[in-house]
């Protein structure tokens, strides 16, 4: 019979719920806050980390997972013990690199690099905190994944000669040559720590990662670097294999070569650090998973608080509208009808909160991505998830108040004022 047809009652519930939310704007707004904060946190963090993930993936794939390094000091030192251990080691030298190149059949390219940070000048222009990278041989450019834009790289004979020549990163154009076309810089003389260097070429820009430019660099031959900064500094040997599948074999071979050269390695330390990009990726991964955990905590707490607020406000709403419930029951509303009415109201308010949270979350992520410089990846899944989560909070916290409303006795409810 027609009484069992309830779509009309559900529509009425929807109508009443929206009217009630609109009539109590301030209360609705207060109810929203907890939910908005929770969803904003989740959406912002998920979006930001997704953007960072993409940046990291792109950055490391430019060098590829085919490169590993041998050095005295690991690039990431995780403890004081490690630091002390590393400082006791012998320096990694040019000879080590030569031995590896000679004795490791799986190694494709072998190069050395040492870094210094200096101020670079051209005419009255000045660039600070520039990475001066002494490299040998020129295959180090390929290992680093950089390519020449204008001009040329030095030849290997030039490189061995110790002449004061250089190839500059894209930032040098901007900072020293006021963004002039690249060919304007070629043939000019720049000064690093007072020494004049002839610019042979300009590199293609790589962009920045986490706000740090990767183009703020000047490459010089290692022989020149040695003259300018002394040969006593420990250097880093970079090894590249033709494809990632050979990485392990090459690592084993290099390890054996290095152990033989070190003679007696102690039990606790093999005397050198062998690192792949996995070190960075692992560190990055553990950092982001910690951030995720904290965010989930923040979101859970604010959704919980938001849920409690919703429950309280729904209880107030039920009390306020006891008479209305009585009237509805008197003319034939069943428990289900009243239950749905208040559930729709609770879910409505939390879903709106969720939607606002999704918006502000993306907004926040946009601002941060613009500041730090990584792509903004808007994910529909996380938006849907945000609204769904807050709706579930709505159902959970609205259930009890709605049930209390539904089982009100019609006569007692009608007596209420």
């Amino acid at each position: 019979m027609r009484y069992s047809f309830r779509l009309t009652a559900i529509w009425e519930a929807f109508r009443v719920a929206t009217a009630s939310l609109r009539a109590n704007k301030l209360r609705t707004a207060l109810t929203l806050i907890g939910i908005v904060v929770g969803v904003t946190a989740v959406i912002a963090v998920v979006t930001i980390i997704k953007g960072l993930d993409q940046t990291v993936a792109q950055t490391f794939s430019s060098q590829g997972s085919t490169v590993f390094s041998i050095s005295k000091n690991p690039q990431i030192i995780k403890s004081r013990e490690e630091f002390i251990k590393a400082n006791r080691r012998k320096d990694v030298t040019h000879e080590d690199a030569e031995a590896i190149a000679r004795l490791c059949p799986a190694c494709w390219r072998v190069g050395i690099a040492a870094n210094a940070v200096e101020t670079v000048k051209y005419a009255d222009q000045k660039a600070e905190n520039v990475r001066i990278r002494g490299v040998d041989p020129t295959t180090m450019f390929d290992i680093d994944g950089v390519t020449i834009d204008v001009g040329r790289i030095w030849s290997d004979t030039e490189g061995a000669s110790g002449r004061d020549i250089c190839v500059i990163g894209a930032d040098m154009l901007k900072n020293l040559f006021s963004d002039a076309p690249s060919d304007r810089a070629v043939g000019q003389e720049i000064r690093i720590d007072g020494r004049p260097y002839l610019v042979l070429g300009v590199l293609e820009p790589l962009g920045s990662i986490f706000g740090f430019s990767r183009d703020n660099v000047v490459y010089i031959p290692y022989s020149t670097y040695q003259k300018a900064y002394g040969g006593r500094r420990s250097l880093v040997v970079f090894i590249q294999v033709p494809d990632a599948g050979q990485l392990e074999i090459a690592e084993d071979q290099v390890r054996t070569i290095m152990r033989n050269r070190r003679g007696h390695a102690t039990d606790e330390d093999e005397g050198f650090a062998l690192e792949t990009q996995d070190v960075f990726l692992n560190l990055y991964g553990s950092a982001t998973s910690n951030i995720y955990l904290v965010t989930i905590g923040v979101a859970a707490v604010s959704l919980l608080v938001g849920g409690i607020v919703v429950m309280n406000i729904m209880l107030v709403s039920v009390t306020e509208r006891t008479k209305e419930i009585g009237i509805r029951k008197a003319v034939g509303a069943r428990r289900k009808d009243i239950l749905t009415q208040f559930l729709i109201e609770a879910v409505g308010v939390t879903a709106i909160g969720g939607a606002i949270g999704v918006g502000t979350g993306f907004g926040l992520a946009y601002v941060i991505s613009a500041l730090i410089g990584f792509p903004l990846l808007i994910s529909v899944t996380s938006a849907v998830l945000g609204v769904a989560c807050s709706s579930i909070v709505g159902i959970a916290s609205g259930m009890w108040p709605a049930w209390r409303a539904a089982k009100l006795d019609p006569i007692e409810a009608l007596r209420a004022e």
């Binding site: 009217a19 009539a23 003319v331 034939g332 509303a333 069943r334």
Partner: protein, 256 residues
């Protein structure tokens, strides 16, 4: 079930006296309403308040009945039971051939929706809704589609002479108009019975008479009506008067 106590006082005008047909075991299927030995007891702490004790009567279709009695005698309690807003503590209530006293919450809601039209002393309209929406409310919970619903609600409002007030909210209507909206709401679903608990209690005497004229007209159109009142000139308009005192029927007589 059959041994309901007969608590009626001996009649003075025996020819008008209506006796409940207690000789019939259970209910009388020819009747619209059959109440058999109805008790309603409220537990107030350790004390039991018997709002009704052992009430029995029959009401055939098409009657116009007034229930009178002093304050606190149990009139509203009885009306709420008849209107299925409440259930008896003990006894049997048959409405339109169905044993209402054994129904659960949702079944009672269905009866209230389909079989009963209730008019309250304080109107009990939804304050934020228009007259039309208030009248539509029973149809909404009855699952009637929008266009048919508007049609029926407008017709009901027309029947109480409020066709020109359908978009007004209760606070934009006079007391008499509000009560007429409530009556339209009670009638919109074509219930078996129209119940009114002191429908004129909140109205001035002129408006009261208008409302009572309306009831008279509705009765003449075939509706079964029960009105609770303690005003004698209102009770005099009914065709049968049931007097209640201390939760029992004191007198049950036909006056027209």
């Amino acid at each position: 079930m059959s041994d309901a106590t007969l608590t009626l006082t001996p009649p003075e005008h025996a020819e008008n006296e209506i006796k409940p047909r207690l000789e019939i075991d259970g209910h009388d299927p020819s009747m619209l309403i059959s109440m058999r030995n109805i008790w309603k007891t409220y537990q107030m702490g350790t004390e039991s308040v018997h709002a009704l004790h052992g009430v029995s009567f029959d009401i055939p279709r098409g009657e116009y009945i007034a229930i009178i009695g002093p304050s606190g005698s149990g009139k509203s309690t009885l009306m709420n039971l008849i209107g299925c807003l409440d259930t008896p503590t003990q006894g049997e209530y048959w409405l339109n051939g169905k044993n209402v006293s054994e129904m659960d919450d949702d079944e009672l809601a269905r009866i209230r929706n389909q079989e009963v039209g209730f008019v309250f002393q304080t109107f009990n309209l939804l304050a934020r809704a228009t007259a039309l929406h208030n009248v539509e409310l029973p149809l909404i919970y009855g699952g009637v589609g929008a266009s048919q619903r508007h049609e029926m609600a407008k017709k009901a409002l027309n029947a109480v002479d409020l066709a020109d007030r359908i978009t007004h909210k209760p606070n934009e209507l006079s007391g008499g108009q509000r009560q007429r909206v409530a009556i339209a709401r009670a009638l919109v679903n074509h219930p078996s019975i129209l119940l009114a608990d002191e429908p004129t209690g909140a109205l001035d005497s002129h408006t009261s008479m208008e409302i009572m004229d309306l009831f008279e007209r509705l009765h003449s159109e075939g509706n079964t009506i029960i009105v609770v009142t303690h005003e004698h000139d209102i009770a005099d308009r009914a065709h049968r008067v049931i007097s209640i005192r201390d939760g029992q029927i004191e007198k049950d007589e036909r006056i027209k």
